[in-house]
Symmetry: C2
Subunit: 411 residues, 2 copies
């Protein structure tokens, strides 16, 4: 029941990560935030995600530095047999808190399960894929195939709308960590290793299936219509305010619906409407069916108030709502009251002061602050010394042979 240690429940665990872009790296970052020593391995000079947008004014990738917080960075010539042997040795290093590997490599047979498990049979290996047959896929392609863009956007129709959030990437990262920790418990108890695979395309299909949306299409034989910004199956929609602001208001439960009617003074209008339409708006399905009428009745209340007044009154009435913000508004809200903000500025080598956030998991009411990302390759020598026990002469020779390289100066 020690709150302090429970914030870093994976202290002592060592994980080797060979992954790029969002899914694998966000999973590795989650493990690092829970206290694990996560060693991200990259080729000399970095992988293809190393310069991904957005960039800081000085040119460093804000994306890379945001997704690799709290890890150690090792770079090795992955084409050389000696480099491959070093990485294999890191992955299969002995001990109950080692031998845990997260990757998203395609066609690197020296890093596959048969090869690695021959070296360490109790390895826990989680392999992130695009499709389960090994073909590549990214968030945008699996999202289109899962049917989400077809449901997104205006009721008026038109082309499907891609959403910008790489939701499946982030979800795949967490799913990979779930598998990894479950397999680790299995190993802790039985001594057995595991080879788990998780494909982005499967995460997307499983996610949509979990909402019942494919079963609905199967049983109704119809695609559900788009409904713009309305919540499906209940009442919720956005309202513009007098000053050009916008809020999202939702009434899933009877209590939330009553609060909304009370604060907007629309109880009598809706009572009359219920009588006229022969419906009970305390039933969420009726609210969904009559969503446009409800929206029209409520609109005037929001249009007559600025967003500050709306927010104060909705909060006091315990309505379920949220403001629309742009990223710069999120930043301004943080800067207006940093102590109340979940975002934190970190001093990031290569960038400077930069907004970041730690794990959303809080232990005993407190959140660990985020740590910066490593400088690419900066931990190579230290990791080879402390994990593999290499001496400085051996490490020097690896540098001379070009298997290792000097750390690039801060960008």
């Amino acid at each position: 029941m020690t709150v302090a240690t429970a914030g870093r429940p994976l202290a002592n665990l060592r994980v080797v990560e060979c992954a790029t872009y969002v899914a694998g790296p966000s999973g590795g970052m989650t493990l690092a935030q829970l206290g694990a020593d996560v060693i991200r391995v990259d080729p000399l000079g970095g992988a293809t995600d190393n310069s991904r947008w957005p960039l800081a004014p000085g040119g460093a990738s804000l994306y890379w530095h945001s997704l690799n917080k709290g890890k150690r960075s090792v770079t090795v010539d992955l084409r050389s047999p000696v480099g491959r042997e070093l990485v294999t040795a890191l992955i299969t290093a002995p001990g109950p808190d080692s031998g845990v590997f997260l990757d998203n490599n395609v066609a690197r047979s020296w890093m596959d399960w048969p090869t690695l498990s021959a070296r360490r049979p109790d390895l826990v290996h989680v392999h992130v894929q695009g499709h389960r047959d090994g073909r590549p896929a990214v968030d945008y392609t699996v999202n289109a195939a899962a049917g989400i863009p077809d449901m997104t956007g205006s009721e008026a129709g038109g082309a499907p709308v891609n959403h910008v959030l790489p939701a499946w990437d982030l979800l795949t990262g967490q799913t990979a960590v779930v598998g990894l920790l479950a397999a680790l418990r299995h190993r802790d108890r039985t001594g057995e290793g595991s080879h788990l695979e998780v494909a982005l395309a499967d995460v997307a299909l499983a996610g949509v299936a979990a909402l019942g949306w494919y079963a609905d299409a199967q049983l109704s034989r119809t695609d559900r219509p788009r409904h713009g910004n309305h919540v499906y199956g209940s009442f919720g929609v956005d309202f513009p305010t007098a000053d050009g602001g916008r809020v999202m208001v939702v009434a899933l439960t009877e209590g939330q619906w009553r609060s909304l009617c009370r604060v907007t003074g629309t109880g009598e209008v809706f009572a009359a409407l219920e009588k006229a339409l022969g419906v009970d708006l305390e039933d969420e399905v009726s609210r969904y069916r009559h969503r446009e009428t409800i929206e029209a009745v409520l609109r005037g209340w929001f249009a007559a108030r600025d967003v500050t007044t709306v927010s104060r009154e909705l909060e006091a009435a315990r309505v379920l709502w949220g403001p629309y913000r742009t990223p710069t508004q999120v930043v301004r809200d943080h800067e207006a009251d940093p102590a109340a903000s979940p975002l934190v500025e970190v001093q990031q080598p290569g960038i400077g002061r930069m907004l970041a956030m730690g794990s959303p998991l809080r232990a005993g009411g407190t959140a660990d602050p985020p740590r910066p990302a490593p400088v690419l390759g900066a931990d190579t020598d230290a990791v080879l010394a402390d994990v593999l026990g290499l001496g400085s002469a051996e490490i020097g020779r690896l540098h001379d042979d070009g298997v290792l390289a000097p750390v690039a100066a801060d960008r």
Copy 2:
């Protein structure tokens, strides 16, 4: 290294879940899919998510039955002291594989950490919230506040676009499970319990922060423009095909870009363009900057072919792409070749044959098939007998007293 058992790495673990809607229940479902005995506790008659849309033709919730697959269902009068004591006893039942609790309750003080940990100090308790101060929030409200709808939709502008996928709910569910399993490893090693909290609003902010998007807004002091269906920072966009189909095509890497140019026969056009514009389109940032020109050059190739031809040629050329499908198309593709589909029909009590999917985590190359959801309350007597050791006379008395109730007939 036993593939068979590694597919159910949490066999023997017992988890009590008191949660509703998507986040908590999807987390509990994940634990059940990994082999845990997950006991979902509801009030008599079910919670507010029990009839959430979409519905089967007979009226049962496809949503509820999709999110609660593989669990056991217990219903108890949660307002009665005796009912509360039964649930408390289930949550705090002794043993290294018990005492794990996932909830999203608001203001049920009899179920909070101080009360429960007084009964079992080594409890692992993960509490899912809306906001970290306890105020309610849902996916739609936190998504608006995180800035995503402002970036979604047409370059032409207009109101923000809500996406329909409850991405933060699903991500919060997996994050909760990550915390739960990490805390469980901590308990396995040290004997210490944990109280973890995770707020939907924090998951959203942390998710967007992990992409560097707030750091970008902070350092550039500007909001990034909407870019319709284009991928941000690289090249990717949707193309209509001759027969009214649509595909999403992405070229993040040089190799993917070269494949796309080769199959579409546009290499010479782009070489001339590079010379005219003074840019190197093998650089993804240049592809992003000239995305509309690239899209215009490529459009004709797609417009001249039906989706079957496009798909065959892109696949042969190893282009990174995916089809757009609607949910009914996903279902038809499943029905055309069920053996190749990750979706599986389950026989769901109360509904009948219904499409579902198991865990996207595969062990040793195989995926466990999904199990149906329980009938609401159907496992109450069995759970009280096997977890709490109650005899049939005691259980009968609880029924007589109205603390328990008969299982509703199949709907």
